[in-house]
């Protein structure tokens, strides 16, 4: 990573979803490399807790917290215009697994899952992209999910939202393909976080939040379009996508 340029002020990162375990790890990794970091979150107290942790562990002083509600789309413009400076990189890790069964019966819950995982993140990154394009450079990282690669009975509301987000990022990347603004889609697979605390995860397919953060930080020097954090997931999802629908609909994966 290019870190702090000798002649300029440090580069800056905006993490959208500053209370999530992956967001915390991403912020910590960048701060340790000398970046100025802003954690955006609805729960600013929780984000401050992470900011204190990052300051203490890395010795970094430039760790800030900003309030942002990903469902409040009209706040995005004033939020971005109100930042001290437009960040060099924005990483969006907002996500909400929700409860699939409840989402099937409760449209409000389903709406929240869809908006939190798709509408909010997509529209926020759209606005950041416009500003990055006007400036002429920037890195946009959207953390999507392998759950968006194919809808499954166990989590298709979440999966559909992530599929939408993946498609949105793909389109945004295509639109900015000839500019110096890069758009990366990161699919972590299983990650040991509070979101997955109650699940039995498959060891070899499970990453630590720090591993996800390292893959994201690596994009600063080696841009990549679609990243599966653990390479095995690329194969797993290739196989899952290859199963004919007539057969797939009878499976419980």
């Amino acid at each position: 990573m290019t870190d702090t340029d000798r002649h300029n002020s440090p580069k800056s990162l905006l993490v959208v979803g500053g209370t999530s375990d992956i967001g915390r790890a991403v912020a910590s990794t960048y701060a340790a490399r000398g970046w100025k970091v802003t954690l955006a979150a609805r729960d600013t107290e929780g984000a401050e807790r992470n900011a204190d942790d990052i300051r203490t562990r890395t010795g970094a002083h430039q760790v800030a917290v900003q309030h942002l509600d990903i469902l409040d789309t009209s706040s995005f413009e004033p939020f971005l215009d109100g930042l001290d400076a437009l960040p060099d990189t924005v990483v969006c890790v907002v996500g909400m697994l929700g409860d699939q069964t409840r989402a099937q019966e409760d449209a409000d819950h389903a709406t929240t899952v869809l908006r939190t995982n798709f509408e909010g993140p997509a529209l926020f990154l759209e606005m950041a992209a416009a500003r990055f394009a006007a400036r002429g450079h920037g890195l946009i990282v959207g953390v999507s999910s392998v759950a968006g690669d194919r809808g499954r009975a166990s989590n298709y509301v979440y999966g559909a939202a992530k599929a939408g987000f993946t498609a949105y990022l793909s389109g945004l990347r295509n639109r900015l393909g000839k500019t110096n603004v890069h758009v990366a889609t990161v699919k972590p697979g299983f990650v040991k976080t509070s979101m997955t605390a109650d699940m039995d995860l498959i060891g070899p397919l499970t990453a630590e939040p720090e591993a996800v953060a390292d893959r994201i930080a690596a994009l600063e020097t080696r841009p990549s379009d679609v990243v599966y954090v653990l390479r095995a997931w690329r194969l797993v999802m290739f196989i899952i996508r290859a199963i004919p629908e007539a057969l797939f609909k009878k499976l419980s994966l």
């Binding site: 807790r49 204190d52 942790d53 203490t56």
Partner: protein, 441 residues
Amino acid sequence: MKDLSGWGRYPRLSGPLGTARDTGPAATATATLPGVIARGLGRSYGDAAIGRDNTIDATGLNRMQSFDPKTGILAVEAGVPLADIIDTFLPQGYFPCAVPGTRFVTVGGMIASDVHGKNQHIHGTFGDHVAWLKLAMPDGRVMRCSPHENADLFKATIGGMGLTGTILSAGFRLKQVETGWIRQTTHVAANLGEAVRLLSQTANATYTVAWIDVLARGASLGRSLILEGEHATADELPWGDVRFPPSTNGRLAVPMDMPGWLLNAMTVRAFNELYYRNGARKAGQTTTVPWDSYFFPLDGIAHWNRIYGRRGFVQHQCVIPEAKAESVVAGILERISSHGAGSFLAVLKRLAPGSGLMSFPMEGLTLALDIPFSEKLKPLLAEIDALVVAAGGRLYLAKDATQSPTTFAAGYPNLDRFKTLRDEIGATGRMASKLSERLGL
């Protein structure tokens, strides 16, 4: 239901385990769940970190809060592992004032057990360096405790095995070190008398501990290697060595339970013989060793507890007042040696008094040994426990899995004050572990 066995994997117990991801939920769980105890990384050996009915996994309280280089005080949530603290602050020239034999323990666990290290005879226990702590009480209050605020509660919580409430966060001092290296000098003692004498002679050293061959008999009973250590200064380092070496251990692992017959009198005797001879070749020499292999040699082998197989093992650690120490240690060694199933790396060390109400250390000698568990072992341990308390000694609760309420009460003269305080704060029957139930607390 989760397997909640301690590091010794005896007794094997399970129960409901709920994770606290922030201090608020940890306090709520403490105030609402019956028969509850907090659990960190599960490195206490017996049943101390297993709730009677409920267990709070406190490893989610893993945020550091602040560090003041002027005072050396680090404030952290209670689930922060010691390993993180060393990895973060050693490269800046700071090291904890007291560390136990593994760095895979949490700050909350270190306070609750009031852990000690190889420098306890000079620098005291971990609890001696705690400036303050925040305690979630069974009545729902969160109290800040220090030697000056709520001092009684503070004293009862240091070494209180989590039985006064759930430790949420704490501030404690780190000391400055010039390097991450230890200059280690090895002395050889041919028998117990020499070992005790050498431990006294090296008492001015910052770190001193004896590795003792518990299977040696007759004239060699208690033969030991005494390892003395000092933090190396920058100009004592061999040319070319990095000042703060990163952790190197952790690459080896015991992949599965070893068969029970692997550790028998013959194999352990052979291991101890080799270890002793190898150490004896270095007699009088000083070598410079990195911090991790000096303080945490067993951390280099992940899951080392599996070497004892499925039956598990008990770690027995007692302390015996000076006057009778040598004769009681000899008595224990004779019994263990004739029992046959001895232990690797048994440890003998001089201790100074502890400061918590229920702290383990007292002026005298401590002996720690690992013994593969079997039902046959129980009467032997009961006999040893009786010897220890008859001499005015006690057993370390963080290691304990087998002692009786009688030996416990005999060993801890402040027990009545501890019980009274638990009554006053409504902790009796509410804050409860399998250990507290077994010991009648």
